[in-house]
């Protein structure tokens, strides 16, 4: 296969055309701004995803702290009710779409190509496009904040979106939210969806088609498996919300009646379409974290993952059943007994594969030699906390009980246990675990543990009392409450916990920044880990592997470490055959994905305010934003076309005996 790869016209041995077919010279800078803007290297794209996601994670956290501060005492007036609505809307939207999803995307990018033994994703420029399009969506969603910062210039935005993260109709109609914030929210989410679909298509092809020789599907690391399942969930679930958002957009701007009761529309349709996406979405958030934990636990229990096939099949089963449970978000809407019973049963059923996974993780720990390093602490915390969230989730599957819990703080407690105790704990474990791989430095163990305990204690203090608050009747999204409701102590406790959690998160990232500059340097495999990324230097070179590996076992790198002679011989052969076919082929950088995203930003920004006149310096310049929106669209299409014309390009890397790289272009060896 390696030989076949080297021979093909996709990966080299072709000769460059005599004359260029580009409008812009193809960028080759590896460093500096141009290097980052035009990069197609999956590791750099992953780091950009990660960096932006952490930024938004901290912004979302600040929004949460403001919400908790408002609720610290009864009848508080720390912030106005309108701002409170904007904060809880943007906290939810940010944490889901701009923090957890892109952090998962960051790890897909960083790890998947290396774990399948490839040099990049299947479509490197498309990957760069996904990143920049994601950023466009993030900018549109947050534009509304400008109207608080520049009240004169951006007054028309009407603040940040304030319709709640699931934007129930008819709250999103022009009648109730006439300002632009909702239009930005609609288009922002739409564009984030586009980014996710494009990225997922890329990862589906990468995982299915770019596997190294010997890497059968049932030898894939569990994380890669979960990335595959998640990618399928994304491409199949996002269309539902995309259509729902199109319908809202048409209702708002073109006078359709999809959710207009007066015109024969039914707002419940929004709920169905939204949750057909929204429920698979929670598995989109949690399946990759299950993957991180499945990588970390065996490494620190010093034994292979227990029940690998069962864990993989459970992940796939969760993906399937995840499409059949959406109406459990709607038990109180009066679905009818049959539908309610069916969705109750399906919801109970989906707990089974989840429980199976937890037992397998416990089976992995059982009889292992457990090493409690920081990633392991977070992973163990994940199992416990995610289980707690799972228990309250099972309680919701009983429709009569759910009718009591609906829209109360009990629900808040439930989904923060699965999203912080679950997804975030696993992400923090993953960041700590793979930090040495991508930056070549260790995070200090002591400070890592300090941040773990702060986060663990702070998290439980914040969210455990919310179970009681919810069962005592405190509704979610309430701006303030009276002192005689019996909610005072719980809220005070939760807010103090939130501050502690904030200190923990701050410590965690402050330590990361310190480690980036001053951390102790490490070798390629500081944890004695099992998967292929630990077989290459830290940080990995651009081409990942000097020789495409042959995979002999599930724990590929553990096998390599115990069969050194066999592996060395194989690698020498691979290097020789690849060099005889022109060297290591790498994809060329490109401007066009970035330009296309800029076109999209201009187009979407203007399309959101289509019917508003364009005003500059107090003068009306155009009667509508249509010409500007079209301009943006044209820039995008032109960039996409030039992108297609320039072709994948590519150059070769040649390694000498010491591993030093030289590059060559064109057909010369």
């Amino acid at each position: 296969m390696a030989e076949a790869l080297a021979k093909s016209h996709f990966t080299g041995a072709g000769s460059a055309p005599a004359k260029s077919f580009d409008l812009f010279a193809r960028p080759t800078a590896k460093t500096g701004l141009v290097g980052w803007l035009t990069t197609v290297d999956h590791k750099r794209i992953g780091m950009l995803y990660g960096g932006f996601a952490i930024l938004f994670f901290l912004i979302g956290g600040l929004e949460a702290l403001m919400i908790r501060t408002q609720l610290i005492v009864p009848n508080n007036h720390f912030i106005a009710a309108q701002l409170y609505n904007e904060l809880f809307t943007m906290h939810g939207t940010t944490m889901i779409f701009l923090a957890v999803m892109p952090l998962n995307a960051a790890f897909f990018n960083l790890l998947v190509p290396i774990q399948v033994g490839a040099r990049d994703v299947a479509f490197p420029r498309l990957n760069s496009f996904s990143l920049w399009v994601w950023l466009v969506g993030a900018i549109l969603l947050n534009l509304g904040w400008l109207s608080h910062i520049f009240p004169h210039w951006a007054a028309g935005f009407g603040g940040a979106p304030d319709v709640g993260w699931f934007g129930y109709a008819p709250l999103t109609s022009k009648q109730f939210t006439p300002d632009l914030s909702t239009d930005f929210w609609v288009l922002g989410l739409q564009i984030l969806g586009l980014s996710s679909i494009v990225a997922s298509l890329n990862f589906i092809v990468t995982i299915i088609n770019l596997r190294a020789p010997g890497l059968t599907m049932m030898r894939l690391p569990v994380f890669t498996w979960m990335a595959l399942v998640t990618s399928f969930l994304l491409v199949l679930a996002l269309p539902a919300i995309a259509i729902a958002l199109v319908e809202v957009m048409f209702d708002r701007n073109f006078g359709t009646n999809f959710f207009e009761v007066s015109g024969g529309g039914q707002p419940i349709l929004w709920q169905h379409l939204f949750w057909v996406f929204g429920h698979p979405e929670v598995y989109i958030l949690i399946l990759p974290p299950m993957g991180y934990v499945s990588e970390i636990l065996p490494t620190f229990a010093r034994k292979p993952l227990f029940g690998y096939p069962i864990i993989v099949f459970s992940g796939v089963a969760i993906g399937f059943i995840g499409f059949g449970v959406w109406s459990h978000h709607m038990f109180t809407t009066g679905l009818g007994n049959v539908a309610t019973a069916a969705f109750s049963l399906a919801t109970m059923a989906i707990a089974v594969p989840t429980g199976v996974k937890i037992f397998n993780w416990i089976g992995t720990l059982w009889g292992g030699r457990i090493v409690t390093r920081v990633p392991m602490m977070f992973a163990l915390g994940f199992i416990w906390m995610f289980m707690m969230g799972g228990f309250s989730g099972i309680m919701h599957s009983a429709a009569p009980a759910d009718a009591q819990q609906q829209d109360s703080y009990f629900v808040i407690a439930h989904f923060h246990y699965v999203l912080i105790g679950g997804a975030t704990f696993a992400l923090l474990a993953a960041i700590h675990f793979w930090f040495p791989k991508f930056f070549g430095r260790m995070v200090p163990e002591f400070w890592g543990k300090v941040s773990f305990w702060l986060i663990f204690v702070g998290f439980n203090c914040t969210f455990f009392p919310m179970h009681f608050l919810g069962l005592n009747g405190m509704p979610r999204r309430t701006w303030t409450y009276d002192a005689n409701m019996g909610w005072n102590e719980g809220n005070l406790f939760a807010t103090c916990g939130a501050y502690l959690l904030g200190v923990g998160i701050f410590t965690y990232f402050a330590v990361l920044i310190w480690s980036f500059f001053k951390g102790e340097r490490c070798g390629s495999d500081p944890w004695d880990a099992r998967t292929l990324e630990w077989s290459i230097p830290s940080p990995p070179p651009e081409h990942n592997f000097a020789a495409i590996p042959t995979v002999h076992a599930r724990d590929a790198w553990w096998y390599e470490k115990t069969h050194k002679a066999e592996i060395a011989q194989e690698k020498a052969e691979h290097i020789k055959s690849e060099e005889s076919h022109g060297g290591i082929h790498m994809p060329d950088q490109s401007w066009y994905p970035f330009f296309a995203a800029i076109g999209l930003l201009i187009g979407a920004y203007n399309f959101a305010q289509l019917h508003h006149p364009v005003v500059m310096f107090g003068q009306q310049v155009l009667t509508s934003h249509l010409p500007l929106a079209i301009t943006g669209g044209v820039i995008m299409v032109a960039a996409l076309y030039l992108w297609a014309l320039e072709g994948p390009g590519g150059y070769h890397i040649h390694l000498d005996a010491d591993g030093n790289a030289t590059e060559s272009r064109g057909g010369h060896h």
């Binding site: 004359k19 409008l23 479509f123 199949l236 048409f250 039914q266 057909v276």
Partner: protein, 277 residues
């Protein structure tokens, strides 16, 4: 690339560089089509849900539809799939000339379909007074069939890009010729489906051909000029880069084109024929 130019050396059904033997591009399109199924699934569901719960005063579909015309344009769209299949077959045999012809044919049939839709939309709004806003049937009908029409239009654009690409000289260069060529293709296709086809349908229903020509004299003149430009661009015999090795590209667009046709069969059944049961 020259080593692949000879016919018969490429296995079009197996790509030995990938783990599964399926070319990456083809797998990407298949996965995208799965996603696109869900887009149309959501739209068709919206339509059917509201069909079962019509509000008072909703438009009555059978009084609005012109089923003969829609059946005709459905037939044309299905026939365009035949031409698409012939284009794929031609490029797999390395026959670039025949590929170009079949691509043009597919695009033109696509434009006849689109022209039918332009006529239909105009007719519904101006004669039958059904708009996006004045009935829920209008909202779901125009959104659903409009989304499908957009898919066909994007398909025509992609085919046009592929057609222009078949002229890319092997020696490189020619970027601006390529742009001008694509522009001419877009103008010809645009004029056909916005003015020519709907106008001819009007003529069939009794309007005067002379009026049509006078009324849209400018677009028709521009379209004729663009048509002449197409003939001019297609002259000569420079050695081109495009060849049998690009079969997977044509086939990928073919997948999309056939998919959009299949979706139309479902829409035609669920939106039009269902009303006559």
């Amino acid at each position: 690339m020259s080593s692949h130019a000879a016919t018969g050396l490429i296995d079009h059904h197996h790509d030995h560089t990938t783990s599964t033997g399926i070319p990456n591009k083809k797998l990407l399109w298949w996965a995208f089509l799965a996603s696109d199924c869900m887009f149309f699934g959501a739209l068709i569901s919206s339509h059917l849900v509201y069909r079962l719960n019509p509000p008072p005063g909703n438009a009555i579909p059978t009084q609005i539809f012109n089923i003969e015309l829609t059946s005709f344009s459905t037939f044309i769209l299905l026939m365009s799939s035949l031409l698409m299949a012939l284009a794929v077959s031609a490029i797999q045999r390395g026959n670039v000339k025949s590929t170009r012809l079949m691509l043009l044919g597919t695009m033109f049939f696509g434009c006849i379909f689109l022209g039918g839709q332009v006529f239909e939309f105009t007719h519904f709004v101006e004669v039958k007074h059904m708009t996006l806003s004045n009935s829920i049937f209008g909202s779901t009908f125009f959104t659903l069939t409009g989304t499908h029409g957009t898919h066909v239009a994007i398909g025509v654009l992609l085919l046009g890009m592929m057609y222009v690409r078949t002229f890319k000289p092997a020696a490189g260069g020619g970027l601006f010729t390529n742009f001008a060529h694509l522009l001419a293709v877009c103008v010809v296709m645009g004029v056909s489906f916005i003015y020519l086809v709907p106008g001819l349908i009007e003529v069939i229903y009794g309007a005067s051909l002379g009026d049509l020509l006078r009324h849209h004299a400018l677009p028709f003149a521009v379209g004729a000029a663009a048509c002449a430009a197409l003939v001019w661009f297609a002259r000569g015999s420079t050695v081109v880069e495009f060849g049998e090795q690009n079969a997977v590209d044509v086939e990928s667009i073919g997948l999309y084109w056939h998919f959009v046709d299949i979706v139309w069969i479902i829409i035609f059944t669920a939106v039009y024929l269902l009303e006559y049961l």
